[in-house]
Assembly symmetry: C3
Homo-oligomer: 339 residues x 3
């Protein structure tokens, strides 16, 4: 039996990218729960439990008939609200054999899911919709990495960007992230803000701006832990002479626990410059390279934890740089306490 | 340490097919017990514990000397009754170091084993010998599948044949198994009987009869859960005009738990028509294809169970069609209670 | 969480071969402890905990800067005594974030480590230095095998050499190891001594002496369990006519638990005859072949133990030949009691 996870159920989590969900059945474990995702004929996303209550078969091995799902074992059929509308051997519905359905909110490129108490759904704000998503100014790329680690390891990773100088030294080459940023927290979110003045632009920022790497430029780098599911980050590229923002770079880090030691990591990068396909593909490529470095590091940490007989009691030393991550842990604990 | 299994020890189980056991040592886990199988020089099958009591080496890594087994580690030698007849460094037998031997009953193609209390062996009927086995009228083919699932999942599978229309829709193409059959139980066995009148013959039944698929024909389909180890099934093909049985098709489903979540599945198919080698090879081929579909489904159910934090408490809805399977569970429980 | 191991911490263990440790970071689990090994610029071996106390990353994923190790995650830097001498985001040392360092004693080809209480280090004798190591008379070859078994299984293996006639019948071909040797024990070590008089020389001993296999020759074979970490063995080849020792063959069996069911096995073979490279490579080759046979047998025993529901309560019958091994278990227990 899996160990319990350190995640709240009453929270909107990313279930999938919009482009992952179509007319094929997509089975996925989220928060130790088997979930089946598909699109109804009207294009909306349906999410029901991926387990037939008859004999426990994953419904994702069955097939889609219109908006209903037919189990691949004995043909029990469920509508997208989880109601059993047909048992072939009974030639009838079986209302008692209802399975869970889950509320979905799609905000491309993300499909958000509510796995908690349906009655609590209004007690939590709907998923934050970053203002750059869906605008014509910004081009966007995204990807999913399934990481064998607790999801909070990724959260803490993206809240302490001093790791750029070590983990990503040969990919992102952002070498000036050394000082602790300004941190802020209102008790429900945790943010950081770092200003770089006349700092040499790393290639990943310079090239899409059509500038030479190493050009001295200003950058404002800030980000926020918004919910246990969502972290956003921004870099504004600024002409030092007049402080005009000439480029906006945005990142979304959405993580969804699979179980206590595995997560789905949904990332999205966007910018309002260098938006042609070729440049965006280059951004996608280097992002995949860099985030694979995070994956390796985080999986190594989890693997060490899994083997270490001291387990959670092994010492941990935090420094000022970790304040945002520690704040994030506290906020997650608040969400779990509210569960 | 493995979790305890839901199987009775005081029951005859299939250990192997006759053609699997010869003068090579065959080690196999049955009911969480390491068992060593081989044939004595007189052709009878011997079964002893597959663990040397000296230092715990599997005896199956040793070698056969006449009817005795010499451990491959330090040469301790056991006869086929489990008696230690030679310790090389002692140049003597060591009667105290006796290991278990297991009663065997061979009824080709099956080698049956008794892993329970030797004193209880007469309290249980010997393995059922289906009357078609070993007759010249019937041709037979068989095979073994090792499935990563509890053995009862296969038992329930073959007691609810409505799964044909879903799991085997593209292999066996038997699409008329939709209504609940007549069920019967005497408290120790559970049976079903289904009559098909003037129903189109699926290719798997028509071809070996030299008939066109789709020909309207009568079929009687019946089967029985006889013991926790054994399930048999039969299809009689019947000329509708005169109700003569023109073809007999028989299946044996024998399952033996390896442990709580793994089983050996020994299947045998036989018929008294289309008995030439080519036709029988075709039957063997489609059977393997179809039973691999069952394997996939059953392993998916077990995998879901293994991950689901609700474990055995996840809801299960049964319908009339499940009566035979539920009866089988009760019968297994009786056997376990008698243990 | 791993189950506790049957090993003492306050004991010198082999961490690595000298030639495994250089200016690359070598991470290795020893006694359920993550250990990082490397050579300082002065050539001495350093050993510190392979876990950054900041966020738990394995330091072996970082890099070596002079004699210090920089974590690959956020750059925390430790000296070879385990002191945190630099936290980049603090631009300062963080003395509190000290990690463990481990005493090392290098006696080529072995690097010995002390993983126990530093205050107890003087209570235990330094690692035994066999007198043939480092002499010009002897040529030596060595190798490491990582075995999925408890380390005591190897210890017992090399204390009961009657297994030669079975496990190594086709490799070492030493077929006269059949009688129990003379055993001796002083309560802290356990030894055996076997004399072979005018016994046919197996090829592995004859060929490097330039003699025909099968030549009748005397051999004295003796060995000792010296500590839970170390076992040594010797064969003296003796001219029967005058009892002169004409060849000396020596073996070291050092085992270090990785965890309760895995070990590093460090072996070394040496002799004062047939010392040219070609002959020594042949010795290395047949040793690898033979020790791989031990590995297979020992892993099979551990695998059986892991699956057997009886676990440690499965019966075990010991004979006179096992006295040395049983003595070794008692000695290990003494070491553990002293922990």
């Amino acid at each position: 039996m899996p160990e319990p996870g350190n995640y709240p159920f009453n929270c909107w989590w990313v279930a999938a990218f919009s482009d992952e969900v179509g007319r094929d059945l997509l089975g996925r474990w989220l928060l130790d729960t088997p979930v089946l995702l598909y699109r109804r004929e009207n294009g909306t996303v349906a999410a029901i439990e991926d387990r037939c209550p008859h004999r426990g078969a994953p419904l994702s091995l069955g097939c889609l008939k219109g908006d209903t799902v037919q189990c691949g074992y004995h043909g029990f059929t469920f509508d997208s609200e989880g109601e059993c509308i047909q048992v072939p051997s009974l030639k009838a519905a079986l209302p008692a054999a209802r399975i869970r359905s889950f509320a979905i909110m799609e905000q491309a490129p993300f499909v958000w899911i509510w796995l908690g108490d349906p009655d609590r759904i209004d007690s939590v704000a709907p998923p934050h919709q970053p203002d750059w998503l869906g605008t014509s100014e910004f081009a966007e790329r995204h990807g999913r990495i399934d990481i064998a680690a607790n999801y909070m390891l990724l959260k803490e990773n993206v809240l302490d960007l001093t790791h750029f100088g070590y983990v990503h030294a040969s990919t992102f080459k952002i070498t000036d992230w050394v000082d602790p940023p300004r941190l802020s927290s209102d008790g429900e979110t945790a943010g950081y803000h770092q200003s770089f003045s006349s700092s040499p632009l790393p290639p990943v920022f310079a090239e899409p701006m059509g500038m030479a790497p190493g050009t001295l430029y200003d950058r404002e780098n800030y980000g926020s832990f918004l919910t246990p599911a969502l972290q956003i980050a921004a870099v504004d590229l600024i002409e030092p002479s007049n402080r005009h923002i000439t480029g906006r770079f945005r990142v979304i880090h959405a993580t969804t626990p699979i179980d206590a030691t595995h997560m789905h990591y949904f990332w999205s990068v966007a910018r309002d410059h260098g938006t042609d396909d070729k440049a965006m593909e280059a951004l996608s490529a280097i992002t995949k390279l860099g985030f694979a470095e995070d994956e390796s590091m985080i999986e190594a940490i989890q693997a060490l934890r899994n083997r270490d007989p001291r387990g959670a009691t092994a010492p941990e030393f935090s420094v000022k740089m970790d304040s945002a991550g520690i704040q994030a842990r506290r906020i997650v604990q608040k969400w779990m306490d509210r569960d």
